[in-house]
Symmetry: C2
Subunit: 412 residues, 2 copies
């Protein structure tokens, strides 16, 4: 069976959610556990209740709404994403995945469609990781990747504790933050956050997995000498060594694979004065690839380069790997359902590996998982300039809804 | 005639001044026009008056103390440096030049020595340039390199105006901030702030000039994309281009001259997040050389490298030269006097070109100028770790005093 979401209502609902925390420049500023997050949660709970869903909030703030199926033994199909945003981020990232799930339920109710499996829609707490770290915190706790108490104790830049904020906004629920049943599958719609679909002229992306990655930081310790009277050969310049490695982080991917990426996003230099040789510089690496062995090789290479640069400048140094995530492959059941939905609806789709992490990453530990990607124009995300045309938004939402329906209608 | 400063009193006076704004770790925190600056100025004025000097403060806060000579037509010999310090700087930088000048006068008084030329000792306002910019502000205004009203209007990081602070501490004097007479010569003692004297095993340095330099900043404008899903060839990474140029700033001096130095002291990246490709990076260049043509060549080279790096990454960019100073050569009269004093006192000396700017830079526009350098152990300055042994301090102070006396005794 195929359904068509109500295009106008879907767009209207997208616009409605975008007003809560909406910015003057058309973006979204809705940080996890902020007042804006409370308002969008209240809004979402109301909309779920209006559809007759059984709403529950777990002790980590993850929000679920359940629509029963016809088979009491069938495991639910879980569909959703996150409603929090980056600081001055876009209106599509995350939110569109939740709104699409809501529209799926609305359409099923409207058309009186019953499914074999229950359908649960979900808003995961703090996917963005910009106010509290780590990212994908809610789905991570729920899936057992993180310890509940440890994550409660995380603090934002002002030292405010996660748990206190969760209580303040009234979303510390009473349901355990863990799967209390088996799940048939998890499907998530998200914007691509890269340019591939647009460059290939596709309508939707069928995500087959998520790249693995390594994140870390290197710190060099040199000597803060006066930049004038200190001869070049007498220097131990922490910034020169950092620059050396940063150019290698640009270069390493080209020696490893066509899908390998490497980035230095952060740098801090001390004392950071035009007239003083930098004595201490910290900078980060990030490498991603669908192949975990390639990630491991990139990790080894950057440390080799860091050591060589330290030797050249005569510096002490240290490094820290801050995060390592293996790549995940999505389940055939989900990939096939998304493929079929896109084809049946007449959308031009392509298989794509996600370059960014998503809540779906953690869900692969729990059940069959899949994702639908929407076009990201110019690949932009995490900025108010993030943009997806309503045509592309609708295509991806419709694909998600039909893929979810497919699985929900399957035999248990 | 040769004199010997009183070693114990000299050391005692150095220690006394170091208590005003002294830090727990044995350094000095005596920012220009701060309460500590007021206290050291009061202390210095008292000491000058105690020696019977005619004290005057000019409208920019430069402090002078005059000891008359025997020839009413003879121009004064000016001797001094500055009493302000860097934030958590050392106790020698600047201060030792002023204390040595005071000790010269004390010794002349004690021994009843009259000189042909008057001797004036001086404390220049805000040499360091750390609270208010530019550096060497007081001597620059006095010598006509800067406009008085413009410098009055400069503000510190809190937006406090220079003129208001000068009035607040009671050091906006009524004498014009300009030479009101011809000067026979200016002599300044300063720590080397580099390792050359120590490396060569010398007691004192006879400074023959000051290097020229160019300071500037380059800003790259790229695209703040997500570091995961953005393919390497789709990126315009502002930090990679900056890193590229920073490694060249390390390399350019080696192609130009054995005394050329090049430094990036400052870097700022936006949005500076581990997971986002840097969209905007500003960093600085600084090149110095005794030969102005080499400085010009380094300036041209860094802009060539900056353009090449911008092209490679597909970035917009802009640059700004913030300061250019020609190299200056000191006067034979002064170099000879310092040479002779060191030799007569039995100190092992060497000629050295200053790699850092000093108040003496501006004084070359007014009169014959020279400098004495004290050993800087390990080349350290602008840090609490700055250190010169009392033996080396005394050797340089004694050299300065005798060189100044030599010129002050010369025919007018």
């Amino acid at each position: 069976m195929r359904i068509q979401l109500d295009r106008e209502r879907f767009i209207e609902t997208m616009r409605e959610q975008a007003e809560i925390g909406g910015t003057e420049d058309g973006g979204l500023h809705r940080l996890a556990l902020s007042d804006e997050d409370k308002r969008i949660r209240d809004w979402f709970a109301d909309r779920m209740e209006a559809e007759g869903l059984e709403v529950r909030v777990d002790e980590f703030g993850n929000m679920f709404g359940r629509r029963e199926g016809t088979d009491p033994d069938a495991d639910p199909v879980l569909v959703g994403s996150h409603l929090d945003s980056q600081p001055y981020g876009g209106i599509y990232d995350g939110a569109m995945g939740v709104i699409s799930a809501l529209e799926l339920v609305r359409t099923l109710n409207e058309e009186g469609i019953e499914t074999t499996h229950p359908i649960e829609i979900v808003n995961w707490t703090n996917e963005e990781g910009s106010r509290f770290q780590p990212a994908m915190q809610g789905s991570g706790v729920w899936a057992g990747a993180h310890d509940l108490e440890e994550e409660y104790a995380t603090t934002d830049a002002d030292g405010v504790e996660f748990e206190a904020e969760l209580e303040r906004i009234g979303y510390k629920g009473d349901v355990p933050a863990e799967p209390t049943t088996e799940y048939e599958a998890y499907l998530e719609l998200h914007i691509e956050q890269g340019p591939s679909l647009e460059l290939e002229g596709k309508d939707v992306g069928v995500v087959t997995g998520i790249v693995g990655f390594t994140w870390g930081a290197i710190t060099y310790y040199g000597e803060a000498d006066h930049s004038g009277p200190t001869p070049m050969h007498y220097r131990s310049d922490a910034l020169v060594a950092a620059a050396d490695v940063i150019t290698q982080i640009r270069r390493i991917p080209s020696t490893l694979g066509d899908r390998t990426v490497g980035t230095t996003g952060y740098i801090d230099a001390e004392p950071n004065s035009i007239n003083i040789i930098p004595s201490e510089v910290t900078f980060t690496w990030g490498f991603r690839d669908p192949d975990d062995a390639v990630v491991e090789e990139a990790f080894a290479r950057v440390l080799d380069e860091a050591e060589a640069a330290a030797d050249r400048e005569g510096l002490d140094w240290e490094w820290e790997e801050r995060m390592r995530a293996p790549s995940v492959d999505f389940a055939d059941q989900c990939i096939d359902a998304v493929d079929a939905a896109a084809a049946d609806l007449g959308y031009d789709s392509m298989h794509i590996f996600s370059g960014a992490g998503h809540d779906a990453t953690h869900l692969t530990e729990i059940c069959d998982t899949g994702m639908v990607f929407a076009v990201s124009e110019d690949g932009k995300s995490h900025t108010e300039a993030e943009y997806t045309s309503w045509d592309d938004c609708y295509a991806s939402a419709n694909t998600l809804a039909n893929a979810a329906l497919d699985i929900a209608e399957s035999d248990s």
